[in-house]
């Protein structure tokens, strides 16, 4: 059977994307895929006629494994795929979902495009900023939430729409958003402090 990829089988790691370590400390650590991700990576390699075609799916795996693409993570992907480091940088920096900075454990993307705008997206975004105390592109100090304004999510018929990690939430209202935030807070363990996992 042709090996098919269960690319998104891993949910965000227990520690959440914020658990991905920051490379600002200058601390040298060696990244490596977990055995589960390694298995997915090997299947990826088998799917494409050349290794570079596996680059974007591999970078997605790396974001999911490490939380974001640090320089070290990009170097690791380059080495694993035997693709020039410059090629990895050039691709990684082109795509918005290949995050180059740590996110909150729950990454909230608010659609700001026309159909959502017509159904109150600006109001919803304002509400989220107030509730979380952060602006677009920021992370709450406890590492729990990050917020981003995004373009059309292809949920215009059920606008306004937001995406939290892998899931869409549609026909949103400030009250529904509040209920979601409460639920996420209740069901998540406290976020690890920086570099604290494992």
């Amino acid at each position: 059977m042709f090996p098919n990829l269960d690319l998104f089988g891993t949910c965000y790691p227990e520690s959440g994307p914020a658990g991905g370590r920051d490379d600002r400390g200058g601390e040298q650590m060696t990244l490596a895929f977990s055995s589960e991700t390694e298995g997915r990576f090997q299947k990826l390699l088998a799917r494409y006629p050349n290794r570079q075609a596996a680059l974007i799916p591999t970078l997605i795996l790396a974001v999911r494994e490490f939380g974001y693409l640090s320089r070290e993570a990009m170097a690791y992907v380059a080495q694993r795929l035997e693709v020039p480091h410059a090629q990895v940088l050039s691709t990684a920096t082109f795509y918005t979902l290949l995050h180059k900075r740590p996110l909150g454990r729950h990454h909230i993307q608010v659609c700001m495009n026309v159909a959502c705008y017509l159904k109150g997206a600006d109001h919803l975004a304002h509400h989220l900023r107030e509730r979380l105390g952060i602006g677009f592109g920021e992370v709450t100090s406890d590492g729990m939430f990050s917020l981003e304004g995004v373009q059309c999510l292809a949920a215009c018929g059920t606008a306004p729409a937001i995406q939290i990690n892998d899931d869409y939430h549609e026909d949103m209202t400030p009250a529904k958003v509040d209920a979601l935030l409460d639920q996420l807070r209740r069901t998540s363990a406290p976020a690890p402090t920086q570099g604290g996992d494992q």
Binding site: F2, L7, L97, N113, Q151, C156
Partner: protein, 431 residues
Amino acid sequence: MIASTDPTRGALLRCGPGESIDLARHRALGGFNALRKALAMSPDAVREQVKAANIRGRGGAGFPAGMKWGFLPKDNPKPRYLVINADEGEPGTFKDRYFLEQDPFVLLEGVIISAFAIGAHSAYIYVRGEFVRPIQRLEAAVEELYRAGILGRSVMGSPFALDVVVHPGAGAYICGEESALLESIEGKPGRPRVKPPFPAVVGLFGCPTIINNVETMACVRLVLEHGAERFLAMGLPKDGGPKVYGLSGHVKRPGLYEGPMGLSLRTLIYEYGGGTIDDKPIKGIIPGGSSTPVLRGDQIDVNMDFDSVKAAGSMLGTAAVTVFTEGTCPVAVLTRIARFYAHESCGQCTPCRDGTGWLERLVESIEHGHGRPGDCDLLLSAAGQILGNTICALGDAAAMPVISFVQQFRDDFEEHIRRGACPYGNKPEAH
């Protein structure tokens, strides 16, 4: 009978919101009959059927699928690829997600038939990266077809072999443009290629490649199931078949609707969509995704097919209709659109890279009350300099809404500039 009185269900849309069709149900509904018919024919005969049905591409440009397939070189020894565009990025559009998430076997059956017809043994389905759940559903469906012997070495026991790869995007609208999409599969930034050569000649991994939209695949399946004549009869003589329409904005019942190609816009909005919220008069209608020129509320008597919408001064695009009613500020709407295209320009041609930034800043300054007399003409001339001067159609996609909004709602723009504030009392949010 395939025609259904319920406009939300029928030939293309087989289930409503919250429902989905699994493999057993697909089989029960006559699934794979079309594929079986195709496999019993020669690839040439399948291509002839598709050509006769004149399926106009559902990705936005309306180029006939059969004709595109005909551009494949006859004597090139390289492998051929079929690539399905499920990037669904054009703002307002949300139809392809339905197939991935709720009815993937319709898409996959269309893919297998099309690959057989063009002689491809690998098909890639490129799905935007935000669609994590739809990708999971589609991947699971692909796995099921391998297990059922419908994909793999021998499709339904025939000598035809086909592999399907679901390839994720990673957040870039430009990757919906077909050559950028190919670059993206190859692991590169999504920068459109200069054409010619066209992908049918030099496409994925340098090989002849056909790129089609998800809904186009669903149409191919219908053509094989019912024949080209029946398919044409479901729409117009030159633009056949049923069509998925998206309805969003200020309507009572937004969502996806199926109707014949050429459905009247009035019927779509007032009958299918239940009319406008609070029964307000319509101010503007974006008929086919945010790049298509805006129509005024009084231009509602147009039929939704490629030629009629074009004659009305706009484009059918993805038939993703966004309605806004009186009281909505057109400057605010255009600001969102201009911001989008400026954000999504890949940056490799100057008129687009710089021009979209100019348009965004100009429209935004008007929205924020800093517009100056003459700005409307400046907008028209800046947009006019992008039109036709770029490598790909994103440049035009950015320019057309600006030109049409200024032309259709010039009074609103001028009033905005004169007052230094929104005549509708909008207070723009900081971004």
